[in-house]
Amino acid sequence: MKKEKEETEELEETEQEITEKDEKREVVVPGEVIATGKDFLPGEGTRKEGEEIIASKFGLLEKTDRLVKVIPLSGAYIPRAGNTVIGQIVDVSFNGWMIDVLAAHQAFLPVMECFGYINKKDLTEVYTFNDLIVTKVRAVKPRSVELTMKEKGLRKLEGGMLVKINPTRVPRIIGRAGSMVKTIKDETRCNIIVGQNGLVWIRSDENDVEKEITAKKAIELIVQKPFHEGLTEKVKEFLQEEIKKLNKQ
């Protein structure tokens, strides 16, 4: 059990972090000119028209040196190579599994991308319909997403509960260098895995459903108030109060 926990922590470090204070960043809308001149390079969520760089998404503006990009504030999940996601098995074929990762297309996990010996005659022995797995996006192709399980911490998820949030709020849930999710983990003593596609898996180490619900409430609180300052502290207070209530009962 302990080993498992270490693995999941390692997972989060590789994920997207909040680099700057969001409060300072500007909100831009599609069609807005965000930079002019040849000194800037158009990044994600932007396009170039003559000398102007124009936002093509609704989100927060981020300028790093010369690169200008827009980080979306809302919307559906768009898969990217290297994302750790949580998916559900929707189909089992002869050479792999079709997995729903809440993206525009279904993702495919080939047998080749799994660890260990697999009996090819019956793939349902490994993962079967409706199983939840934590997996990594290996490649994104024009009309398919390919997954892999060949990495530390990627596994089938058993028990626990699943919370669906907006994928753009995921960096908030993780917090700077994983600080937010660590707070929730420590206070509720739950094992939490945050998928970049907006699925969050929670399981209490003590098999206590009440604590899982508390963790879920904390996550919903973060999603509702993403722009609050000192959110980590607030969540900590909230969790401590909730845990106190639980202990009294």
């Binding site: 809308v29 124009i54 979306p72 919307g75 525009a104």
Partner: protein
């Protein structure tokens, strides 16, 4: 213009004055993006889902993602109950809305997928399709769909021989009495423009107008659309203050 002439519109508005505009985003929790937009008594809500895989498969376009629009009025939105479900009018408006929004979308990278946009009129008082397009434009931006720019729409028209902006139902039904007969003398032009490039993406005409007046109407509409685009921008930016 004298004061008397100015107040000739039924609700006392100036010829270039828009009705009270209300706009909100993120009103429907389960949608990927949603918005409300109202012109006085005309209120539209829009919900956007996707990009998601398109079914049935034969409708899929392997070259690009597609946009589907559904426009409908709630039965209680008009004074006489509207029979629920699609009809000829709503099919036409769905189509022109789709054509008005399509040029701004950048969904070429989402082959075989669809972006669904559902527009519901919850209260109707003329120019509902314009309110619908404005709401849909906000909802698409709110859904994080890549877009070149926003779309702003307004209805422009003629009541008698006056060109006015943002017609109300009363103005749309404007009639004059000629030779003892009551004849319709109102012209309604739904108009949509892309916020940055100022290209026209919707222009319909219901009634009669001569070319000179149409040109003037378009300049007025462009000015009104700029105001609407500003409101759309402000609405989207408000998200941070909440």
């Amino acid at each position: 213009m004298t004061k008397e002439e100015k107040h000739k519109r039924p609700d006392g508005r100036d010829i270039e004055e828009l009705r009270k505009i209300e706009a909100k985003v993120g009103i429907i929790k389960n949608a990927d993006g949603s918005a409300l937009f109202s012109f006085g008594g005309s209120t539209a809500i829009a919900a956007v889902y996707g990009p998601r895989t398109l079914h049935p498969q034969h409708l899929q376009n392997p070259e690009t993602g597609i946009l589907r629009c559904y426009y409908d009025m709630t039965p209680f939105s008009v004074s006489e109950r509207k029979r629920p479900g699609p009809n000829r009018r709503s099919a036409e408006i769905s189509y022109v809305t789709m054509k008005a929004l399509e040029p701004v979308l950048q969904i070429e990278n989402f082959a075989n997928t669809v972006v669904d946009c559902y527009i519901m009129i919850i209260q109707a008082d003329a120019s509902t399709r314009c309110a619908g397009i404005n709401a849909a434009s906000l909802a698409l931006a709110n859904a994080g769909v890549p877009m070149k720019e926003l779309v702003a729409a307004v209805s422009i028209g003629k009541t008698g021989d006056k060109i006015v902006v943002d017609l109300s139902k009363e103005e749309e039904d404007f009639t004059i009495i000629k030779d003892g007969k009551e004849i319709k003398a109102a012209t309604d032009i739904p108009f949509a423009i892309l916020s940055k490039s100022e290209r026209i993406s919707l222009l319909q005409l219901d009634g009669k107008i001569n070319p000179e007046d149409l040109k003037e109407a378009i300049t007025l509409a462009k000015r009104a659309c700029k105001k609407i685009a500003e409101i759309q921008k402000k609405t989207l930016k408000k998200i941070k203050e909440e």
